[in-house]
Symmetry: D4
Subunit: 250 residues, 8 copies
């Protein structure tokens, strides 16, 4: 049901040819396509939020991922995240043409459908251990139609590396910074770059790092106003936020 169909239905309500209750029932009922016993996809989502459905693989079986990606591929292309290597093997066997990005735990299939125009997003990564989350963010941003600049291994302990690449980063319109442990990178970056900056804490670390809670707390406590934060390891959320912003910049 696209925007035209919806407008028609509401006209019918005004014309009295469809009762309000019936209209409510139809709007509610239509979008439910049951692709499997426990997996419901929402074809309305892109209409409402500008972001298409993506498959969150962590809480699904390989079979559910396959069914969901097949259904979504009808719109032109699909992406699944948090797919571990074991599930990925099953998914790739069932979906010819699908590609698996191991570090990012992402499966992609099909071409990216036409998307709204979008400015370039820098995905900056503090340490080699954070690369998986950064790559998840980069792949999702590309799936949503954004050009991506990847900048890796620029943690603050080797400040010269970061400074050598600041100009490149400044030329992008939005910055996603991925950092674990004490997560100092976004604080330094926030003082150097005047673009919207989205920080992703990662669960890299041990002991008092508390699986990323300290990185999260450090990012939220940061002294540079204007940095915003997403959940630990949430590359998808950061990518979606960055794309929504980058679409405004064109």
């Amino acid at each position: 049901m696209d925007r035209t169909q919806l407008a028609q239905l509401l006209d019918q309500v005004r014309a009295g040819t469809v009762a309000p209750e019936e209209a409510a029932r139809r709007i509610g009922a239509l979008p439910f396509v049951e692709v499997a016993q426990a997996v419901v996809l929402d074809h309305h989502r892109e209409l409402r939020t500008g972001i298409p459905e993506m498959v969150y693989g962590a809480s699904k079986t390989a079979d559910q991922i396959v069914l969901a990606m097949r259904e979504l591929e009808k719109d032109g292309g699909a992406i699944a995240t948090r797919v571990d290597a074991t599930k990925a093997a099953t998914v790739l066997a069932a979906l010819p043409g699908a590609v698996y990005h191991e570090a990012a735990r992402v499966v992609r299939i099909g071409a990216v459908p036409p998307r709204p125009p979008c400015a370039t997003i820098a995905v900056v990564c503090a340490g080699t251990s954070d690369l998986g989350v950064a790559e998840e963010a980069a792949l999702v941003a590309e799936f949503l139609g954004a050009p991506v600049l990847r900048v890796g291994d620029v943690g603050v302990a080797g400040l010269h590396r970061l400074l050598a690449r600041v100009d490149e980063i400044r030329r992008c319109d939005v910055v996603v910074a991925v950092a674990g442990m004490e997560a100092a990178l976004p604080s330094v970056l926030g003082g150097l770059v005047d673009r919207p900056l989205i920080a992703v804490p990662t669960s890299v670390g041990y002991g008092v790092s508390l699986d990323g809670l300290v990185a999260l707390g450090a990012l939220l406590s940061g002294c540079v106003p204007g940095t915003t934060v997403v959940n630990i390891d949430n590359g998808v959320g950061a990518a979606v936020a960055a794309v929504k912003i980058a679409r405004l910049a064109v």
Copy 2:
């Protein structure tokens, strides 16, 4: 030292008329203007980040706030946040023309200097108890040059109120959502609006609310990808992030 002066200095380094060490010393030394024993203002900040210095009143005495605002007012106007009523009385007595916004705990003085063009920001507020934080965000955004749409008291427990105002919100380019307690508003809003959405948890609540930690956790755990979050009660941070985004949208 503005951008022109900086370029001149770097040219002198290349020309050999200024030694690199000397240049580094000058760049480092110049911006420090000591307005009081413990208050250092950074006139370089706007140059680097596009956001002027604002006075964070919580950790300063009334006298320090006065000194800092006087210094900053030379650039055209100044704002101080987290100023309680007692300090505000002293500040207003010392700064003729200053205005105090009590619920927001904000002091403003002078006209807003010319700022880069900026799209409209919606500041949406869940409950009456969250109004102070929301107003802080709105005032800071206006100080930074943004038009602001204020939408109050649209918590999810009275869903019809929120739905009645969704179209207005959708017409803005960036949304700041302020919510305490269980902070469900941004989740609902995120499913209704396709704009960048910045959520501010507040410390409103008691018992298990843990001074806003539960609201913060709920926002970060939200099921709508693309919402980003700032620290508890951090209206300033949300405003700065929203302005950076809204400047891209014009």
Copy 3:
């Protein structure tokens, strides 16, 4: 020992034919039926609380579950919860006629014995990942004699889905709402429905979700007075509470 036997015993104490100490010993001693070395079933429980014994499978071996269900089946039917797939295979092999509900991790055997009359309970579920806990609640409620309306995948990020089914939910007398992550569903539902509402947080989520603690905190902090809460993933507890209420409504 049923209520009649108990009354007889107390009459004997009054009559002096049984010493108080002896009566205490008998009351204490009788209900202990040792079905296995470490599993004690309490046939008195239904007498005292109106709720029959159910087998909590998480801390029991498959053999202990089999023994307990056999003993309880003598009363007409039995249910075991938190039975993983491996244990379930053993249990089903040993108990002909038993059925396994995989997503809910529940084993059922025998017909439901006659129960007190009970109004209909709505079990409402926010996301597909929460379906297992919701189904546990629904199966336990049915075992206790309640008619159940299942409403799935009505998370607040797709508000229209929930609104499309609100009238159905309103026609039930008690509502159980199951929600993980930020758990916003019960807040929205609480503003739409005037029935007793029991919320079940789930451990669905990652990072700052803290295995359901944030969902729990959000539910307890909710702004709609009158919602009550049970432990994380505790479908059984919610079902029992709902049934006790629904029995009052007939």
Copy 4:
């Protein structure tokens, strides 16, 4: 706007005399009665949820409480909770006829308007330090039209006191149990009574009690299935939940 007016408006939409957008605007706009700058009352709430607006005094000034109670009193009677002694003095001076319950921190004014019929609620209290929260629950329940049985000082350390009153409690249809510190009372009560049981943890205690978090955790971890829980010190929430249940029992 009552239910009749709402039905009329929807008929007009069907008849085409009112545009859907206009109807949405009216429904959204009408209920906002601004009684003060920051206090919005929702006259629709009773219509939607069966529970009238009550004034939460903690985040309001004495003047705001007075204005809100005056507005609500027009419906027949009003109640404000979390009103400390200082605010209460101001409120009582401004509202002739108002009564202050000090331990419960509750202000009441006016007669209770006619309410739906409601079964009796037992409010049971573990220790003398918990009496304030218990009394808040009792007063709110009475304001909502419920008969209340108060049972005090029956903590489990003096088990005989509790046993002496169990029969009385059993004769009620719903039980609210208020307990701080280790909150063992509801566990014992849950094994003795077969009625719906709502537990309220209190912030009574020190050291590791963590302002009620341990009591809350203990209640949620309780071994008796079917007990539900509200936020720490939340006598209002427990009363509302209990009344919703007790209304089903008549």
Copy 5:
């Protein structure tokens, strides 16, 4: 080195035949018997504290447990705790005569050597899931020479069971109460029995139980003064404390 040898050495220091430094060296050096690369046993411990060395199996390999038990058995008998089933198989194969208590995860070998006289200890257990920890406490207490009364499955949800056995418990001189989840048993017991009472929280539970932290907090917050507490699942610590007390009672 026993007490006689120690006295002799100190006499030699006074006599000047052994230099103080030399005496310190000898006292420090003698007790180190390296039974394996990483396992040091302290034969002095019983001399100093009245409690012999016991093998804590959790952080040792099966081979290290075997070596340690062989060394300790020379004193007459040995006990190892926290030995899982896999390690136990290896240990029993290597130590003929050793016995494994599976639920308690305890390995015993040899007769109990003569111990100081000791009064009877009651080990009381709330639920069937807590039996392992209770049995660990009971076995360790018996190894230390104490007669033990085991009282099982007397959780407060079935109060009559506990009341039926209170007189037996009262006849013991010390009580160890083992309880998980909300851990209400010791609170009830503390009001019924006037003996020293040591409570052991267990990690039984799920969700908000936090692996026993809530049980621990509830026990420490208990309203009956005089109950003392040990670490979660620490049956050994409770047994040692109880034996030290019970030895005073003879």
Copy 6:
């Protein structure tokens, strides 16, 4: 109602002259002596637990403390704890003969009534900041009839002080060790003394000390088996536990 009266009543039940329900009513009803609106004293407690009622002043007004102490003084003497200096002034003015111990925040009145015989208790204190809690424990123990040895300022940072007094401590039958911050004292003491050892963490410290939670955790994690622990700052609980043990040692 003393033990004789209770025995008479139960004889009457057996004789049929008193109905069981009536007996239950009388046992339950008798002990409630309402000395003030919210303060209930339990004259039965000493009968049941061997420990008389003590007044916990933290949650009571000065007037309630006075009423409670007057009532309890009829038994020969009374003690109130957690009485701050302001309340104490009021209490002493109302109760001639009462004495206030400021550091311990304890009020005492009357002679100590005859108590069961009791061995000596050592109350050992790590730092000068912990002296208040230690003195509370000492005064309560003396009120309960125990001889007390006070050993102060023997923290482990000055090990020689502790070693100089170990022999004195060893001659007592029970040891109470009071320690804040990292609470290392009981670990050292536990390796030196073979008596029952009760540790009291205090809230002394700052930053990561978390108001005593770290001290509590350190004590429960201690490597010397047999130490038991009470709540933070709980001198009363430690004293009661120690007295129960010391009474066994005579």
Copy 7:
């Protein structure tokens, strides 16, 4: 009792003119100089640890601080920390010649006695709000005999400020870095400087900063190996650690 006296005493033990018990008693007894009811000073401390006693003012009254400083001044000079402005006024009135450093909350009196030689310590401070803690560290280090280089307001959000002063810092032998909020400064510094680096988290911040716990966690999680950390706001501890190191560097 200095080292000579101690050696004499031990010689007497060897010679048999002093019994070992007597020697132990003397060593234990001597150092206790009771300057007030609850304040014990340890003149032995400098002998054992190289660091003289300093007065921790937080848990002492103004009178106790005066008594302690007078006693310590006999050794040549004294310092008290955590003295708030109110106490300081009393202390300065009683101790002519004492000086109060308000931001650092430190009172000093007398000249610094001769100390062991010591290399220069850099005390580096991230933000203006952290200056109090940094100054406490600097004053204590100077009291212990260290030359101190103060470097202020070099937080990472203005990286150029820090880079401008790195060479100065590098010329010191030990670095103390004071930082609140997200505490990124020590991470950046640790990559630029090869000296021992001690980090002090401060309680500056709000919301999720948790009174410095996040800063502490970030510092401990830092990616630069070799940084060590002290408790939140613990300027004294950092200074003592730095001085111990700096004394090795001469």
Copy 8:
């Protein structure tokens, strides 16, 4: 690129033969040697911080560890930490001459290259369970060129063992103390030794030990000023810090 090359490059900038941008590019670009897709080594690090790169094995595959060690071995020798037994087998098969220290989970290859002179470091270990972390610290310190004194099994529960070895420890210039559970060892040691003391909490313990958080908290709360702390189980960090200090002491 060594220090000479860096100086040459900067001279070229001054001479105008290399543009500043080009110089920045070269400095930034050179140090990146990609030894594998996700493992970047920083040959500059030793230049900047005096500490060579070490391989952190926890977040790398066996193949990545092999590649990194081969690259680093070119500088003369290499070390990898947190290498579990499975990975170690692969690494040793690929790197002839490599040695595996199982308890410490460390792989070493090659001779230690010439390092700056360094005083002796004492690595002191509380319990046998902490030996792995202590050995990691000792091996890393030796790799960095430090002589190490290992002192094992001197926990405070057997104080005589520690006292017997204090003189040896005092002769070292820096002390690393490794302790889990309640971590009391460093407190005792800090009162006995006047050297810089670095404490390493370990994750040894169970229940309330919280995987080392309590040990960490206890160390940071310690009453002996001057002890500094590293992250839980962080033997590497303690070794690096100790070596930096010990290099100052020669």
